[in-house]
């Protein structure tokens, strides 16, 4: 008798399961159809680090003090800087980030006393490692600045020339220059068939 009731109730449980999955069948899909659609990246997303733009001076805040390199657990940062003539502190000339070692722990960003680095929100970096693994952040900074039409930053220029460089009267839209995320265009995406 036990077997009969067990068979019967077991069969009913199977039907309940089928009912649940068929309801899911007719529900919309929950996946994002990359690369036709993309998601918006969280503001605090931890991508690789990059030098911050200082609106007033037009130069990165970094003074090549090496505190970030010391704080890093994975030894991925190598810095160099020079003291331009007439300036009070050093300015960075090379900022080498070996991204293959970085674990995105944020210790460098927190350790920096000059608020010079921040996380970018680049995530679609899949490529041959030689192309992006060794990042030159100063070059990246120069590219970003040129891209938005400001005068290129030159650490070797003496103070007089730097002061004459037009400062950012217009706020630099760092969100657009910072990310390589293609804008989400749901209109162009094919609907999931």
């Amino acid at each position: 008798m036990n077997l009969v009731t067990e068979t019967f109730s077991g069969f009913l449980s199977l039907l309940t399961g089928l009912q649940i999955t068929i309801k899911q069948f007719f529900s919309p899909t929950i996946t994002t159809h990359y690369p036709h659609q993309t998601l918006t990246i969280a503001k605090k997303f931890r991508g690789h680090i990059e030098l911050k733009w200082n609106e007033e001076t037009g130069k990165p805040n970094c003074t090549a003090c090496n505190i970030c390199a010391k704080a890093c657990p994975s030894d991925c940062i190598v810095l160099d800087g020079i003291k331009p003539a007439g300036e009070k502190g050093k300015t960075v000339t090379t900022y080498h980030l070996n991204y293959t070692l970085c674990s995105l722990c944020s210790l460098c960003v927190e350790a920096c006393p000059f608020d010079a680095i921040q996380h970018s929100n680049r995530y679609n970096l899949a490529s041959v490692p030689n192309q992006w693994a060794d990042m030159d952040l100063v070059q990246r900074y120069k590219d970003q600045v040129t891209r938005v039409g400001k005068n290129p930053y030159d650490p070797y220029a003496p103070a007089a020339v730097s002061a004459a460089a037009p400062t950012a009267a217009v706020g630099l839209d760092l969100t657009s220059s910072r990310s390589d995320v293609p804008p989400a265009s749901p209109a162009a995406a094919p609907t999931a068939q």
Partner: protein, 369 residues
């Protein structure tokens, strides 16, 4: 003009050499097209059940995915594992694809649309349907791989256990229908859908008036038993011991790559087509429309067009059953091996024996009314 074309078609379909050749080609095409595109149905269905789209990139809605997979499989190198029995290793894929094609020869797709009207059609379908077990066993054994051998042993044990209730259930239906001829079985289910074997068993209206007990009063349960046995015979989840992916990697097919694996894959879907076609014609009325005898005579008066409409009804029912096979696969986990055998020996066989006895009693009872 149209009449002449129809006349030509009718001539070709009724005169001997042309007829056999056309049917043969059509059936091979049908079976292979189904085998290929049922993969697409399964992958899209699996995606939808899991709230994702399934293949979408190759072709519109992923329809070019099966040819893409086929080309990929064809391009791979065919290797037999060293030390295994080469002849048996290559014989297994051949043996597994041929039986479903042969079974399809006896299945009536429409009124007058069947390759061979055999008086023992049902018997032929079942005898050929049992060969695929042998092929899996050979494939598993000849691969010289421990996982494959375990899987082959499981498959044989499972198929033997599930042949029995399947045949008992079919014998019950044969007692009700009185014939092994598949076309006859379908013709008997004419009239409304209440005359389909699944419902006619409970109460039979086909002889007019108030009707009487049809014979197999447990017919819906019989249908469920047949369905479960069909799932087990074709090695589909929740009975897919043969290729229990999480345990045995790929079971009996572990050592097969390229088109060898592709053939096993296609044969699985061809078997599902044969199984669902059988379920449709034994229980759900085959190509009968189920909309009443008036509609049925209307279709017969349309000749060949009417038969094609019947084929449409047959496909609708068959593909609904195939969809339910996919549905069941993606809902339930796998049974335990001894659970599978317990289900067969302890539950399905007693139930089917009970159905058999009950049917024989009700058939011999004097007709009520």
């Amino acid at each position: 003009m149209i009449a002449r074309i129809l006349e030509l078609i009718t001539f070709l379909l009724t005169n001997e050499p042309y007829r056999s050749v056309i049917y043969l080609l059509c059936i091979i095409g049908f079976a292979l097209a189904n085998a290929a595109y049922l993969v697409w149905v399964e992958r899209k269905g699996a995606g939808r059940f899991q709230r994702r789209p399934g293949p979408t990139e190759s072709g519109w809605a992923g329809l070019l995915q099966p040819p893409a997979d086929g080309i990929k499989l064809l391009a791979k190198q065919l290797m037999a594992p060293p030390g295994g029995d080469k002849i048996l290793y290559w014989a297994a894929p051949l043996m597994v694809l041929a039986p479903p094609l042969v079974c399809l020869l006896a299945i009536p797709f429409g009124n007058n649309i069947l390759a061979r009207d055999l008086n023992i059609g049902l018997l032929m379908v079942f005898s050929f349907g049992s060969i695929n077990v042998m092929a899996l066993m050979l494939g598993g054994w000849a691969s010289r791989n421990k996982y494959a051998i375990i899987s082959a042993a499981r498959v044989v044990s499972q198929n033997v256990a599930y042949e029995i209730p399947m045949l008992l259930v079919v014998i019950t239906m044969i007692m009700v229908t009185g014939t092994l001829n598949l076309q006859e079985i379908i013709v008997q289910q004419g009239g409304g859908f209440w005359n389909w074997n699944i419902l006619r068993g409970i109460w039979d209206f086909s002889s007019g008036g108030w009707g009487h007990i049809g014979g197999n009063i447990l017919a819906p349960i019989t249908f469920i038993i047949f369905y479960i046995c069909m799932l087990a015979e074709t090695n589909r989840a929740p009975f897919d011991m043969a290729e229990a992916e999480s345990e045995l990697v790929a079971g009996a097919f572990t050592e097969y790559g390229g088109m060898g694996f592709g053939v096993f894959f296609m044969a699985e879907y061809a078997n599902i087509v044969v199984g669902c076609a059988l379920a449709t014609l034994l229980f759900l009325g085959g190509w009968q429309s189920g909309l009443g005898s008036g509609f049925g005579t209307l279709l017969t008066s349309w000749g060949i067009i009417g038969s094609l409409v019947g084929v449409g009804f047959f496909f609708a029912k068959m593909y609904f059953l195939i969809f339910s096979v996919v549905w069941v696969r993606w809902t339930f986990p796998r049974t335990q091996f001894y659970g599978l055998l317990n289900l067969s020996w302890k539950i399905l066989i007693p139930l089917s024996l009970l159905t058999l006895l009950l049917t024989s009693v009700t058939l011999k009872l004097p007709r009520l009314f």
